[in-house]
Symmetry: C2
Subunit: 198 residues, 2 copies
């Protein structure tokens, strides 16, 4: 097992870390994330507290099997008004979600952590805010057709680094957090632990 392990099944998150030149292996936690989030919602928790707790639960579940490794956990929840959104299950759900977000601001509660030997060594959070412009049904149909399965890989049904940027009138906050990780902070932690060259 490599020293660095990403406890996430998200292809976007792995691509982000790989593009940054970080070497790691992927080992998804297998946690029932929907049930986890439902419990937190029912308890009245905030999205960022839920994402933080879920990132830690994922990392802990994987770290228990490989105590010598540094295990990165991460989670992201889209919040629009009172609603929380997760990755859409299919293209119809993606379109419905985008119709809901159209013309409104939403935030991306983004959390990550690092665990080794049962110890929580690092935790980072960010909550970028994005405003979707008022787009038409014709645009939406073109968008879904062009993105295809790519629209299913993120909590917002968009890749802001691709055609998804056409959905937005305003973007505030860290670009890498939008993509799924507070990356600058994570890289600083990895350097401090000798997992990346300083």
């Amino acid at each position: 097992m490599a020293p660095l392990v990403l406890a996430s099944a998200s292809a976007a998150r792995a691509a982000l870390l790989r593009a940054a030149g970080v070497e790691f292996v992927v080992r998804p936690s297998g946690i029932d994330e929907a049930a986890f989030k439902q419990r937190y919602r029912a308890a009245g928790a905030s999205a960022i507290d839920c994402a933080t707790a879920l990132a830690e639960a994922k990392a802990l579940a994987v770290a228990a099997q490989i105590p010598e490794s540094f295990v990165i956990g991460a989670d992201q929840i889209l919040v629009c008004g009172e609603e929380w959104f997760d990755k859409p299950a299919n293209l119809e759900a993606a379109a419905a979600q985008l119709r809901h977000l159209c013309g409104r601001e939403h935030s991306l509660a983004t959390a990550a952590c690092a665990i080794q030997g049962g110890l929580l060594l690092w935790r980072g959070t960010a909550t970028p805010r994005l405003t979707m412009r008022r787009f038409g049904e014709g645009f939406l149909a073109d968008y879904i057709a062009a993105e295809g399965e790519g629209a299913l890989g993120s909590v917002g049904a968009y890749r802001v680094e691709g055609r998804g940027v056409q959905l937005f009138s305003r973007i505030d906050g860290d670009h890498f957090a939008i993509l799924g990780l507070p990356l600058l902070e994570l890289l600083a932690f990895l350097r401090g632990r000798g997992l990346l060259r300083e």
Copy 2:
């Protein structure tokens, strides 16, 4: 000639626009940019005023040949203290530039415009600020070896969307402006002119 023309030889800028789902053709202006910038520096102009003027000069030069097309001009100047930086000519120059930026804040004076039929129809600017951490010579050697020619495509000798993110301790400002274009504003202009679906 397609309705939209990018008057820039920058591969990074073309890649950014292409990723966003915009169709265009590239037609570099052939302007002597180094001489242009030297005249502005000598006159005591600010970097953003120079980048704005150069973006317009590039677009005007190309638009004169194809008056029916919408021509996008763009330019970016890296400013660190009193110095202006442009794309490094080779890997040695890239390393020297990164040593200069190491441990310091710099800004990216970024300008773009759109011209049709001799009329300046849109202008956008942004000046994101980035702070490079104090990295060592070992890191720098690894970085240059890993990036290769990729380090020569931007004014900062880095691709922040790739391994270049490891250079930074802090990034403030629009991610797309860092990559070379005030993209959200440009997309809004293109929609307003019927060049992108609304």
